[in-house]
């Protein structure tokens, strides 16, 4: 199979890449665009560490072919802070120590951001359901849930 030339819009920038058709979005982000904030945890969609936003919705980039998302708006963790100012979810993850090793954090944060966009005033149980596809082995989730709830109370918490 020959390489395919595709145009990707990542964090507001447009990129032209030429990759084999079976290349995943995760590989393109990490290996071609050097956006290594998106993490490689299992490569089989089990852990959620590679979650990115595609048109504002969370997807696993290891299970998404790059050619599928041509022309779509992709947001990675590097593109979340608005001109250097942290997104409210990022701020609260820092403030409440909702991070330990940090390997699940990019995917977790993006999942939470997408969720707050749809449900700006969630309950704790709704947060738990929303992030249940993103596995964290360090924190026990409590500080993550509290951080998402705290972010929902900041003006602009639902911003994507």
């Amino acid at each position: 199979m020959g390489d395919r030339s595709i145009k990707l819009i990542v964090n507001g920038y447009s990129y032209n890449v030429s990759v084999p058709a079976e290349t995943t979005l995760l590989e393109v982000l990490r290996e071609e665009l050097q956006l290594t904030g998106t993490k490689f945890g299992c490569d089989t969609g089990e852990c959620g560490a590679c979650t990115v936003l595609i048109d504002g919705r969370p997807f696993r980039s290891c299970m998404t072919l790059a050619v599928e998302v041509e022309g779509k708006r992709i947001t990675t963790i590097e593109g979340l802070a608005n001109g250097g100012e942290l997104h409210p979810v990022q701020k609260k993850f820092v403030e409440l120590q909702a991070i330990q090793c940090g390997f699940c954090s990019p995917g977790m944060i993006l999942t939470a951001v997408a969720f707050l966009g749809e449900n700006p005033k969630p309950t704790r149980q709704e947060v738990r359901r929303a992030i249940s596809g993103n596995i964290c082995r360090c924190t026990g989730y409590q500080k993550i849930v509290e951080a998402v709830i705290a972010a929902s109370k900041i003006n602009g918490g639902g911003r994507k």
Partner: protein, 785 residues
């Protein structure tokens, strides 16, 4: 301390690595790139026990882009690694002993290619009978895993360890009641989200390895051994780590030795990233144990004797098994004052996955046995489990079950138990749930057949590496011209908050705000061997070395301040704008009033003056734990920390499904250097422990792991994790920095038993093996009917 206010320690300050980690800027091993970088992957064994007849690599080698295939004959030095005994081959030579053995390694230009090439390697085996049950492995005619016995093993028994205190037979004769049961805590997989990985580079003489690793010095020694070159020519540099929990303790030794070999021979950077399947099939697991526990007590509930026999499956290689064995032996009878006790342990080679370090290091397994025994005893005596524990816990001035005089700690446990019971409303809930369950038994209406339970587990934990050898560490501190502080240690940040806590300790000792301090990633070429990042020893041991190093580095600054202020002793005050000042130690001045206070010197001026006068502002901190006593005896552990966890559960009697609703977790940490980080450790440890007690089950069949993925091996998600109330108890320790003990492991150790005891309370019978999965709980209920 003389009651002076602490500047930085004890405050819930922001993690120093937080910003990097929420913006994707943190650099993990897999994020590093080098020009001309190659990729590597191993060919794993296809049998649990077999002789290798032939390794056919020509087809794989003919793939364009495959650079070279390595096997045991390419190893220039020792083809063995092992922290305790060198029984694990870098590449299997003539025999494979479990499915995780590496037979060969492909090095190629891309990840895709290495995967393809590995499948093209053909290995001919002569399959041998294997042994998969540790008790069968101890029988005379069992197949032998290491037949030559050169690792100190007798047959398959790697090691026997035990002790006796008092007169156990007499103790049981004096007992009014004896509880005797068998417990089977199982495997646990670390399931760090970042699998093991490393990148090795070499110019053909020196070797540098970047990796996700807990113990850079273990890796250095393994690489030196495999390559047959001096340790001084090897640099191991730690990157950010995506979780470890003991699973990256000695495991990276073999991984990095193989990558270093390829880089050394090929003179190109070589990257190795384990797939999830390779990770689960190849790395150590928590030791499964068979624990036979006999406990004798008087009618009034006073413990008089304990007899514990432990048989554990070591798998194919020793790893850190003997150290786990020692910890299990010392802690086998729990945190109780038992005058007569006898413990025997056997760790046995099999052809299963090797077992090794996992947060708690034998502790959670023995706590499952000893803590379920306490509940069983309480049940038979008709006593409240809380009261039974309070009656028997070992306290300051007492003697542990193993025989250590608790002369320097022992107040924390009662405080943990009472606080956890109080906050969880133990008495009220115990009653209320029993009434609820009684009502449910006679209720025919309602859709769910639910029972509720509340259970506890209380533990002691020997902090840091055990005696007789003291546990020691070094740390260096450099104060630069602008007053900022550089700390280097051999301790690693793996998510637990080590960099934050060590920064706080260093900032406190120097007398500057937190942001003045930078902790460098561990680099074996910079610091002396500081030991491994294990055993909850970073805060107390490496932390104390860091405090001492920082104190030494700042000593000339303090001397100068004393001279300028005309006093013998100074202390630091940080002004509201963040400027640090030295003031006389006994000056009654608060930071808000520092502007108007005349007897002060700006820290930055002091630093500049010291540089002007050519003073040394570098300190090397060294410390070793007080394990040796003056009378020539030694402490098993220099001190203990304590914990009590209380779990509340709901059990569906028709399906056996358990939901943990609440965990109340009291942990004695000596001193919380950063209370928010301590809470994070407690919450995370408790949920990992809950996973072990409740849902995590590694399924093996004749040595093969049948569920090597996170889809089939279930760890807690946000929907499984309960509401947690962390409670910090502080029994000041006289050795650790600012009184701190460790928290990494005791956050996990009590939880599995607490969950199982809550299940026991709910359903009225004990589940004596982990996990309390729907199947195991349902079977316990059915077998009882």
């Amino acid at each position: 301390m003389t009651g002076e206010e602490l500047l930085v320690v004890g405050k819930p300050l922001r993690r120093v690595d937080a910003l990097d980690k929420v913006t994707g800027q943190g650099i993990y091993t897999g994020d590093l790139k080098f020009p001309d970088m190659l990729h590597a992957k191993v060919k794993r064994s296809e049998h649990a026990h077999a002789r290798i007849l032939r390794i056919e690599t020509s087809e794989a080698e003919s793939l364009p882009g495959v650079i070279r295939i390595f096997t045991s004959k390419d190893v220039p030095g020792e083809n063995n690694v092992g922290v305790i005994v060198p029984d694990q081959p870098v590449f299997a030579e003539d025999t494979v002993r479990h499915y995780g053995d590496a037979v060969a390694m492909v090095v190629a230009e891309s990840e895709d290619l290495v995967r393809k090439a590995v499948d093209l390697i053909k290995v001919d085996y002569d399959v041998m009978p294997g042994v998969f049950d540790p008790e069968e492995a101890m029988l005379p005619n069992s197949p032998l895993v290491h037949p030559d016995g050169k690792y100190g093993n007798e047959g398959n028994v790697l090691s026997k360890m035990g002790y006796e205190k008092g007169d156990v037979e007499k103790g049981f004769r004096d007992a009014d009641i004896i509880v005797e049961e068998e417990y089977r805590p199982g495997y646990q997989e670390h399931a760090f989200i970042e699998t093991e990985r490393c990148i090795a580079t070499s110019d053909g003489r020196n070797v540098t390895v970047y990796g996700s690793l807990q113990c850079p010095f273990y890796v250095r020694d393994a690489v030196a051994g495999a390559l047959g070159i001096p340790r001084a020519r090897i640099r191991i540099i730690q990157t950010a780590i995506g979780g470890a929990f003991g699973g990256k303790e000695d495991v990276p030794s073999e991984l990095c030795a193989r990558a270093a070999l390829a880089a050394y021979i090929l003179r190109r950077p070589v990257r190795k990233i384990r797939s999830r399947e390779d990770s689960i099939v190849m790395h150590t697991k928590r030791h499964p144990m068979i624990i036979r526990h006999r406990l004798g007590a008087t009618r009034e509930g006073e413990l008089v004797a304990a007899r514990v026999e432990i048989i554990s499956d070591q798998g194919a290689y020793c790893s850190v098994g003997k150290y786990v064995q020692k910890r299990a032996m010392v802690h086998a009878c729990g945190a109780y004052d038992i005058p007569n006790s006898k413990v025997d342990t056997s760790f046995v080679y099999t052809n299963n996955i090797l077992t090794g370090a996992f947060r708690g290091f034998g502790g959670p397994q023995v706590a499952v046995a000893s803590e379920l025994q306490m509940d069983e005893l309480a049940r038979r005596l008709g006593m409240d489990p809380l009261k039974l524990r309070l009656k028997n816990i070992v306290e300051k001035g007492g003697i542990t079950a193993k025989g250590q005089n608790l002369d320097n700690c022992g107040k924390g446990l009662r405080e943990c138990i009472e606080k956890a019971a109080n906050v969880s409303q133990w008495d009220e809930k115990r009653d209320a749930y029993e009434k609820f369950n009684e009502k449910m038994k006679h209720s025919s209406t309602g859709t769910l057949n639910i029972r509720k339970g509340i259970g506890m587990s209380s533990i002691m934990y020997g902090v840091a590496l055990g005696g007789p050898t003291p546990d020691s560490a070094t740390s260096t501190c450099q104060i630069t011209e602008d007053g900022s502080v550089i700390i280097t240690t051999g301790g690693t940040e793996m998510g637990q908050g080590a960099k934050t806590v060590l920064s706080q300790i260093a900032a406190e000792a120097v007398g500057v705000p937190l942001h003045y301090v930078t902790i460098l990633d561990a680099d074996t070429s910079i610091v002396q061997n500081s030991g491994p990042s294990v055993a909850s020893r970073i805060t107390p041991v490496i932390g104390e070395a860091t405090r001492r190093g920082a104190k030494e580095a700042v000593s000339e600054i303090s001397n100068l301040a004393c001279k300028l202020l005309g006093v013998n002793r100074v202390r630091s005050v940080i002004a509201p704008d963040g400027t640090p000042f030295s003031v006389p130690a006994d000056a009654m001045v608060k930071k808000a009033d520092i502007d108007k206070f005349p007897d002060k010197v700006d820290y930055h001026e002091l630093v500049r003056s010291c540089y002007g006068e050519a003073k040394l502002l570098l300190g090397v901190g060294f410390c070793s734990t007080p394990t040796l006593l003056e009378n020539g005896e030694y402490r098993d552990y220099y001190t203990y920390s304590f914990a009590c966890h209380i779990a509340e559960v709901e059990v569906d009697m028709d399906t056996g499904r358990v939901m943990v609703k609440k965990l109340t977790c009291a942990n004695d940490v000596g001193k919380a250097i950063n209370p928010q980080t301590v809470e994070g450790q407690i919450e995370g440890g408790a949920v990992q422990g809950m996973g072990y007690g409740l849902m995590e089950e590694l399924v093996t069949l004749n040595g093969r792991i049948l569920n090597p993925s996170l889809v089939d091996y279930h760890i807690p998600t946000s929907l499984d994790a309960p509401q947690i109330t962390p409670l910090i108890i502080e029994e000041h320790d006289s050795f650790g920095p600012y009184g701190a003990k460790g928290i990494g492991e005791p956050s996990l150790i009590p939880t599995p038993a607490a969950v199982l005891n809550a299940v026991g309370h709910a359903i009225g019978l004990a589940v004596r093996k982990t996990p309390a999965s729907p199947e195991n709980v349902w079977r316990a209920i059915r077998d009882h009917r």
